[in-house]
């Protein structure tokens, strides 16, 4: 009698390689997914703009462009955490406005207040994220509604308390965060501080997504019940995602105080731009798939698109239309790529021993084969 628990194969087997395909093949496969395709899109757009307007290719111009895209890229990364877990954060724009107005009114011209007010801003950002998260998870209100309500309440409150217009720009030292940079750098002239902040945050975000928290976040977006059954504390997980999103909006606000100044319109519509950027980056609305860096790349591609429209001289009234069409096309292409990319690829290098008839035992009737 054959022992059912004996190994099924008798031949020796070569160890499976850690990765399939050469490095180049892997990059190519990665670029075929929507998360990777957005980087290709960024490259294409940069080339297109330089063709239309060679001045843009100047390293100084490029790095300044990267610096000014930093706030929306940071916001997109924050929004990524929320979307990949299956939720929405529509309150981002209102958080940015709140932080900007708070900075303007509380810091004023007093440099010594910069540190405490920044701490207060981070605290307020965290609190908003906690409220968003708890109401979504514990009170079971859809996040679309919670963050919509938060958006309305925050923007109304900010206007009410400030009389609709801010008192003025805060002291220059604080604004340097958004406007300044490391000067006298060879080749590029200046490395803007926002770009440095973005790089640091991007590295942190990638590290976070590799940790158990990041993996649980994606799992929660993909299949909440399974994640819950695996022992993930869903409410704490998602609340932290909302906190990350609000903190990202806060940091974007700090940068925007410097870049744009203090005004109640700063930050308007940020949430829609961030969500569009995330979706352009190939993250599925509804959660469960996507890379955090693609979200930032999506923000870059959106901004590049605007610059391209300016460089091509598209009339001001048609810009919305062109933007809408490109968004639909890009996202449609991305969702097709996800379906194509799902099929596993087998290359010739992977050893794949064919099961021979002798090594596959026919199960005796009556014995269990492990399947029910």
């Amino acid at each position: 009698m054959r022992n059912p628990t004996a190994p099924l194969q008798t031949g020796r087997r070569a160890p499976l390689p850690e990765r399939q395909g050469s490095a180049a093949a892997r990059v190519g496969a990665g670029a075929a997914t929507p998360g990777g395709a957005v980087f290709v899109l960024v490259a294409v757009l940069v080339v297109a703009i330089i063709v239309a307007n060679p001045n843009f290719g100047d390293p100084g111009a490029l790095i300044r462009f990267a610096g000014r895209t930093a706030p929306i890229a940071i916001a997109a990364m924050g929004q990524y955490f929320v979307i990949v877990s299956g939720e929405f954060d529509l309150s981002m724009g209102a958080v940015v406005t709140t932080q900007v107005v708070m900075a303007g009114n509380l810091i004023g011209q007093d440099e010594s207040r910069i540190a405490p007010v920044m701490a207060l801003m981070l605290l307020v950002g965290t609190a908003i994220g906690v409220v968003n998260g708890l109401v979504t998870t514990l009170l079971k209100v859809p996040s679309f509604i919670v963050t919509l309500g938060m958006m309305l309440a925050l923007s109304g409150l900010v206007r009410y308390l400030t009389g609709g217009a801010a008192t003025g720009n805060p002291v220059d030292a604080f604004r340097q965060i958004g406007r300044g940079g490391i000067e006298d750098v060879p080749v590029v002239d200046i490395i803007p501080y926002p770009l440095i902040i973005l790089t640091v945050l991007a590295v942190l975000a990638v590290l976070l997504m590799r940790r158990p928290y990041g993996r649980s976040l994606i799992a929660a977006g993909d299949n909440p019940e399974a994640a819950h059954l695996s022992g993930v504390s869903l409410w704490w997980l998602k609340t932290r995602a909302f906190v990350l999103s609000s903190l990202a909006a806060t940091i974007a606000g700090i940068i925007l105080v410097g870049y744009a100044g203090v005004h109640p319109s700063v930050g308007q519509g940020y949430e829609f731009t961030a969500i569009t950027a995330v979706v352009l980056g190939g993250v599925l609305l509804g959660g469960g798939r996507g890379w955090v860096l693609s979200a930032a790349a999506g923000a870059f591609s959106l901004e590049l698109l605007f610059v391209l429209l300016t460089s091509l001289g598209v009339p001001s009234t048609w810009r919305d239309t062109v933007q809408g069409l490109i968004i639909i096309v890009a996202v449609a292409a991305a969702s097709r790529a996800w379906q194509v990319g799902r099929r596993p690829r087998r290359t010739a290098q992977a050893p794949h021993p064919e099961p021979t008839a002798s090594s596959t035992p026919t199960p005796d009737p009556g014995t269990t084969t492990g399947e029910k």
Binding site: A61, R64, G164, A166, A260, G261, H263, V266, G267
Partner: protein
């Protein structure tokens, strides 16, 4: 069977009840204000395009506003909110009453931008004076939050429920609010329209500064005088489809074309981030010599874009918002601050005072609209020292109670 009979009986009874209760709003019975009716030459109300025309631009209005820029105004220059251009006057003797203590009802388009917020604060301080003098007992306000439909409903509500002795209306848009203003006129009470107009002249008085075309002419002429042919001007516009803003650009665009200025326009939504990005992108493409704005919000961001790029300041027109005036002084650039006479928010209440006293008021009350030049800037900055950045220099409230505290604290009533 029985159920069917009962149902049939109920249905016919319901139909009878419905027919007897039917009623139609009376305002539809008078002749429509048809869209293609042209206004007389003297009026400054921007008319809508007829279906056939492509251009929004109306030459007659452009010319009349051009003339009004140099017209003589009746009244004391120290009180520009009472000045007007002499013309047809409305006889208000029918409204004369000794009692005082009237109730005014104000249908406000919104307080969604700093210009309107400043004016609203000024209006409330003027109201305090009116109440103290006994002319008015109160003013009930309904804010439409920039929605035509809401403002229509607000005016109808005032007519049916408001017990108003007078109507003050700041229309959200011109054509859409016309039927509502006509309905208000029909009540027989005085109706004061200010800021944006409507397409009927049934109102007791229509208060406004000269207009959008005049703004466009003043600003574009300034830029043309200070620039050379072939220079580039970036025009920053807030939103499309707002007729008071479209007239400003229409006039400016025409003058730029006639003088060979290369003007390119963008929509900014009054967002300083957008403004800075647009200017930065333009600067990467090439030199920009001038900046034109159809409203001053966000002017500082535009100037800072030039600073960040390390190029010379442009010739610029902004508005009399304090942020622009301060930055203008700080940088010393060549500039002009056009105004849309924020003090016009005082005039409706003062007009009501005259109306209830039986004094005649201009049928169309055209207020002066004088831009602030570099020479006058220092005076205005000194007079408004301590005011927030979103305050408007020509707010005209220096002699009202609460000056300067109320405007500095900027508490919206």
């Amino acid at each position: 069977m029985r159920r069917r009979t009962i149902r049939a009986a109920l249905a016919s009874a319901a139909a009878l009840v419905v027919l007897t209760a039917c009623s139609t709003d009376d305002s539809l019975d008078e002749p429509d204000a048809v869209d293609s009716a042209a206004t007389e030459g003297g009026e400054a109300t921007p008319t809508e395009e007829t279906e056939a025309s492509e251009e929004f631009f109306v030459q007659a209005d452009f010319d009349s506003q051009d003339e009004q820029r140099s017209a003589t105004f009746e009244g004391d220059e120290a009180e520009p909110w009472l000045q007007y251009i002499d013309g047809e006057m409305t006889d208000t003797s029918e409204f004369e009453s000794e009692g005082g203590g009237k109730k005014a009802c104000f249908a406000n388009a919104s307080i969604s931008n700093p210009w309107r917020q400043t004016g609203w604060i000024t209006m409330n301080q003027q109201l305090e004076v009116m109440i103290e003098n006994g002319v008015l007992s109160e003013m009930e306000t309904r804010d439409a939050q920039d929605d035509d439909n809401t403002q229509l409903a607000d005016i109808d509500y005032f007519i049916s429920e408001g017990n108003c002795d007078a109507f003050i209306i700041s229309p959200n848009s011109t054509a859409a609010l016309t039927p509502a203003v006509e309905r208000a006129c029909e009540t027989g009470k005085p109706v004061v329209v200010f800021d944006r107009g409507v397409q009927t002249d049934c109102a007791t008085t229509f208060i406004h500064p000269i207009g959008g075309y005049a703004w466009g002419i003043d600003t574009a002429n300034f830029l043309v005088e200070n620039l050379e042919e072939g220079d580039k001007v970036v025009a920053l516009r807030i939103l499309p489809g707002v007729d008071v803003l479209e007239t400003r650009w229409a006039a400016a665009e025409k003058i730029f074309e006639e003088n060979g200025i290369d003007a390119v326009d963008y929509f900014t939504g009054a967002d300083p981030t957008e403004i800075k990005k647009i200017i930065s992108d333009e600067l990467v493409q090439g030199d920009v010599q001038g900046v034109w704005m159809d409203a001053g919000d966000g002017a500082v961001a535009a100037i800072e874009a030039f600073e960040d790029a390390g190029v010379d300041y442009p010739v610029m027109t902004g508005e009399d918002e304090m942020s622009f005036l301060r930055k203008w002084e700080e940088t010393g650039l060549t500039g002009l601050a056009p105004v849309y006479s924020n003090f016009q928010w005082r005039t409706p209440l003062l007009a009501l005072e005259k109306i209830f006293a039986g004094e005649e008021v201009p049928a169309e009350w055209v207020l002066p609209q004088v831009p602030i030049t570099e020479d006058e800037r220092a005076d205005f900055l000194a007079a408004n020292d301590g005011m927030p950045d979103g305050h408007y220099a020509k707010f005209g409230g220096e002699d009202l109670p609460g000056y300067p505290q109320v405007w500095q604290d900027r508490v919206i009533p």
